[in-house]
C-alpha cells in the first residue's frame, strides 16, 4: 500500500501542493484529474523525489506532528533517494522522458532490473524474452530493445515505451503521469489494456494522472480524485468523470 499524507510541495518557494492525502492499495486503480496548473505533475515528480521539489510541512516549524508523509508498505520513504523508492517498488512514468544516446532499452532495463531486484538472477536470453513481450504488449517492434532509450521516438512511442518499461520492471505501485497525451485512439486502447492487465494480474497499485477523460473510459478506475489548486477537491468514482465531461471542472 502507498500512503500519501499531508503532502505539501513547493518549487522555488511557491507552494504548489497544499496537503494531499491519498491511500492506494495493491491492485487498485486510482485516477487524478485536474485542470492545467493544478499540480498533477508536481505530485508525481515530488513523490519520486525530483531535485528542486521541496517537500515540507511548515517551513517555520520543521518536524511538527502533521509532517508530510509518503510511505510504501508502511515504510516512510519521503526523504529516500529515487533509486531507493524504485527498489521499494515504485515506478513513475514521465510526460516527456529524456533521450539517452548510446544506451539501448535492453541495457537500460537490464541494469535497472538488477538494481531493483538484486536477488533475482535471470539469464540474458530469458530477460530478452521478457523485454520482447513487453514491447509487443504495447505494439512496439521487438528490435526497439536495441535502440537508444527514447532517442528519435515519436511522442506516442515514448509513452508506449514507458509502459513497456513498467511491464518489465514489475513495480508494486505506479504513477502514470499523462500517459495518454499524444496517443491516438488505437495506442490509447493498447496502453489502457496493458495497465488494466498488470493491475489485475500482478496486483499493481495504479495512480493515473490525466487531464482528459478519454483514457478513463478504457481503464475504468474505481477511484477518481479531482485535484484543483493544489488540493484534492473531491473524491468519488466514475460519476465524477461524467460531471467534468458535461459541465467542466467549475462544477466540482
Amino acid at each position: 500500500m502507498i500512503t500519501i499524507k499531508n503532502f505539501k510541495v513547493s518549487i522555488e518557494n511557491k507552494e504548489i501542493l497544499k496537503g494531499i492525502d491519498l491511500d492506494i492499495k495493491p491492485g487498485e486503480i486510482h485516477a487524478i484529474m485536474g485542470p492545467n496548473g493544478a499540480g498533477k505533475t508536481t505530485l508525481a515528480m515530488a513523490i519520486m523525489g525530483m531535485p528542486g521539489f521541496k517537500i515540507y510541512d511548515s517551513p517555520q516549524r520543521p518536524g511538527f506532528a502533521g509532517q508530510a508523509r509518503f510511505m510504501i508498505d508502511g515504510k516512510d520513504m519521503v526523504n529516500k533517494l529515487p533509486e531507493e523508492k524504485a527498489k521499494a517498488g515504485l515506478f513513475v512514468s514521465f510526460q516527456s522522458p529524456v533521450e539517452i544516446t548510446g544506451v539501448s532499452i535492453l541495457a537500460f532495463l537490464r541494469t535497472a532490473y538488477k538494481a531493483i531486484h538484486p536477488d533475482e538472477k535471470i539469464p540474458l536470453s530469458v530477460f530478452k524474452e521478457t523485454v520482447k513481450k513487453a514491447l509487443l504488449g504495447v505494439s512496439l517492434p521487438e528490435d526497439f530493445m536495441q535502440r537508444s532509450v527514447n532517442e528519435g521516438f515519436s511522442g506516442g512511442e515514448r509513452k508506449r515505451a514507458e509502459i513497456a518499461q513498467m511491464l518489465v520492471l514489475k513495480p508494486k505501485f505506479v504513477i502514470l503521469d499523462e500517459i495518454d497525451s499524444g496517443l491516438d485512439v488505437d495506442s490509447l486502447r493498447i496502453v489502457a489494456k496493458a495497465i488494466q492487465k498488470a493491475a489485475k494480474e500482478t496486483h499493481m497499485g495504479v495512480l493515473l494522472i490525466t487531464h482528459y477523460q478519454r483514457i478513463l473510459h478504457y481503464v475504468k478506475p474505481a477511484f477518481v480524485h479531482v485535484l484543483m489548486d493544489g488540493k484534492i477537491k473531491r473524491s468519488g468514482g466514475m460519476e465524477l468523470v461524467k460531471i467534468i465531461e458535461d459541465k467542466g471542472y467549475a462544477a466540482i
Binding site: 519520486m48 523525489g49 533509486e83 514521465f94 529524456v98 548510446g102 541495457a107 535497472a112 532490473y113
Partner: protein, 463 residues
C-alpha cells in the same frame, strides 16, 4: 561522484628490471651516433638521424596546444635496452618482463584473436611473432630495426617520405633517436583477417620512447593494426614521441586502432599520417585515455581519385590531464571523401581540446567531408575547447560540420534514478553511451577493455 584516484591506475606497477644498456642521460650528437652504432646501421641512416637532430635543435617548441615548457630534454634517457635478443616465443622473454605482458593480457590475446604481436619494452621490441600462414603469403610484420637490415630497399624507399623529419619538432626528434616500432608490408591483394597488434610499455624512469612505425599496404590489400600503451607511475615525467607513416595503395584499406592508456606522467606527442591512393581507404581509430598531455592529430592525405579517409577520435581527460586531439583530412584529388568524428569527455578539472584541419585543394572536385565533434563536460572544474580549421580551395565540394557541448543533466540522472539506477552508475552508462559510436568500431575485446577503463576513470573501481 567518487574522485579519480591515481593509485587505481592498474598498470602503474614498475618492474625491477635492470636494463642491459642505456645511453647517458640527455641528448647530443654523441647519443645519436651511439644509438645508430649500437644498432649497426648503414651510414645513410646515421646521416638521416644527424640531420634530424639539427632540425630538432633548430625548431622552436610549438606555442599552441598544451604546455610543453616543463619537458626537460636534458633529463631524459633516449635509449634504454632491456634485454639482449628479441624473442620469438614468450619463453625467450625474461620472467619479469613476460610478467608485465601477462598482466596486460597480451600472450592470452595473441592465442585468441591476433594474427601477430609485437611487444616493445622501453626502446627495444623484445618479442615478435606472426602467424605462419601470413608469412607464407608474403606479409612482413617485424620491428622497424629489423626491417632496416632485412628489407633495406623497401625501407629506404618509404622511410620519412610520408612524415619528413622537418615536419615538426617532434618528428625531427623521433627521426634522430627512433628505436623500435613496427614495420608492416602487405602484398597485393592479401587480406589480413585478424588484427596485428603492437604493445608499447615504458618501464624505465625518465625514459623517452621513440618508436617508429611504417606500414605499406599494397594494392587491394587489407590490414588492421592495433596498438596499446601503458607505463608505470613515477614522480618524474616520461616522454613518448612516436612517428607513424602509412601508405595505402590503390584500392587497399588500412585501419589503425590505438588505445592509449599511458600513466598520467607521460607526455604523448605523436605524429601519425596516412597517404591514401586511388580508391584506397584509410581509417584511424584513436582512443586517448592516459598521459598528462597528448598532442596527436592523425591525418589522412587523400591523394588519388575516390580515396576515402575516416578518423574516429576519443579523448578522456581526468584530473591533471590535457588531451589535445583531433584529426586532419587533406583532399588532394577529385571525389575524395572524409569523415572526422571526435568525442571527448572531461572531468575532475581535466581538459579536452578538439583540434582539426580540413583542407580541400583546388581541383579536388566533388569531394565530401563531414566533421562532427561532441564534448561531454562532467563538472564545473573541467574544460573543453574546439579549434577547427577549414581551408577550402574548391567550390564544388560538400562540407558538413557539427559540434556539440553537453553536460549530464539533472533530468537525465533523475530518469535513471527513478528506474533504480544510482547516480554514479548512471553517469558511467551515459558516458559509455556517448562514446558508443566509437567503441562499436573496435574489435570486441578492445571495446570491453575501453568500457572497463571508462568505468575505472569514472568511479575509481570496476564492478
Amino acid at each position: 561522484m567518487q574522485q579519480f584516484d591515481l593509485s587505481n591506475y592498474q598498470f602503474g606497477f614498475h618492474d625491477k628490471i635492470k636494463p642491459i644498456y642505456s645511453t647517458p642521460i640527455g641528448l647530443s650528437e654523441e647519443t645519436v651516433r651511439e644509438i645508430s652504432g649500437l644498432k649497426n646501421e648503414p651510414d645513410w641512416m646515421l646521416q638521416t638521424r644527424l640531420k634530424a637532430l639539427a632540425l630538432f635543435f633548430a625548431k622552436k617548441l610549438p606555442m599552441w596546444g598544451g604546455d610543453l615548457t616543463r619537458i626537460n630534454f636534458d633529463n631524459i634517457y633516449y635509449y634504454v635496452k632491456p634485454m639482449e635478443k628479441q624473442g620469438r616465443t614468450w619463453e625467450d622473454i625474461p620472467a619479469e618482463i613476460k610478467n608485465t605482458f601477462d598482466k596486460i593480457g597480451i600472450p592470452e590475446a595473441e592465442k585468441k584473436f591476433l594474427s601477430g604481436v609485437g611487444a616493445q619494452y622501453d626502446s627495444e621490441v623484445i618479442y615478435h611473432s606472426i602467424s605462419k600462414m601470413l608469412e607464407k603469403k608474403g606479409v612482413i610484420f617485424c620491428d622497424t630495426d629489423t626491417a632496416l637490415h632485412k628489407y633495406p630497399e623497401i625501407f629506404r624507399q618509404y622511410f620519412g617520405t610520408i612524415i619528413p623529419a622537418a615536419d615538426n619538432k617532434f618528428s625531427a626528434l623521433n627521426t634522430a633517436v627512433w628505436s623500435g616500432g613496427s614495420f608492416i608490408y602487405v602484398p597485393k591483394g592479401v587480406h589480413v583477417d585478424l588484427p596485428l597488434q603492437a604493445y608499447f610499455r615504458i618501464n624505465a624512469k625518465n625514459m623517452g620512447q621513440f618508436e617508429r612505425t611504417l606500414i605499406i599496404a599494397d594494392e587491394g590489400s587489407y590490414v588492421h593494426y592495433v596498438e596499446g600503451c601503458t607505463a608505470p607511475i613515477f614522480t618524474t615525467d616520461s616522454l613518448h614521441s612516436a612517428v607513424v607513416e602509412i601508405l595505402v595503395k590503390k584500392g587497399a584499406r588500412v585501419r589503425y586502432t590505438t588505445i592509449q592508456n599511458w600513466s598520467k606522467n607521460v607526455y604523448n606527442l605523436v605524429t601519425k599520417r596516412m597517404f591514401v591512393e586511388e580508391e584506397g581507404f584509410g581509417e584511424w581509430i584513436d582512443g586517448n585515455l592516459g598521459s598528462q598531455l597528448t598532442m596527436k592529430y592523425p591525418s589522412v592525405y587523400l591523394k588519388g581519385r575516390k580515396a576515402r579517409g575516416e578518423i574516429l577520435s576519443l579523448a578522456f581527460a581526468g584530473a591533471g590531464q590535457h588531451q589535445d586531439a583531433g584529426g586532419k583530412a587533406i583532399h588532394l584529388a577529385p571525389e575524395t571523401s572524409s569523415v572526422i568524428t571526435s568525442k571527448s569527455i572531461c572531468k575532475d578539472g581535466g581538459r579536452t581540446s578538439y583540434r582539426g584541419l580540413l583542407k580541400v585543394a583546388k581541383g579536388a572536385v566533388n569531394s565530401k567531408s563531414t566533421v562532427r565533434c561532441d564534448a561531454l563536460i562532467l563538472d564545473e572544474k573541467s574544460r573543453s575547447d574546439t579549434y577547427p580549421v577549414m581551408d577550402i580551395n574548391e567550390e564544388r565540394v560538400t562540407i558538413g560540420h557539427e559540434a556539440s557541448v553537453s553536460k549530464i543533466g539533472e533530468e537525465q540522472l533523475f530518469y535513471f534514478q527513478s528506474r533504480g539506477i544510482p547516480q554514479t552508475q548512471a553517469e558511467v552508462m551515459i558516458v559509455n553511451g556517448f562514446v558508443e559510436p566509437i567503441v562499436k568500431e573496435l574489435p570486441m575485446e578492445y571495446s570491453v577493455e575501453l568500457n572497463r577503463l571508462i568505468q575505472l576513470e569514472m568511479t575509481g573501481s570496476v564492478g
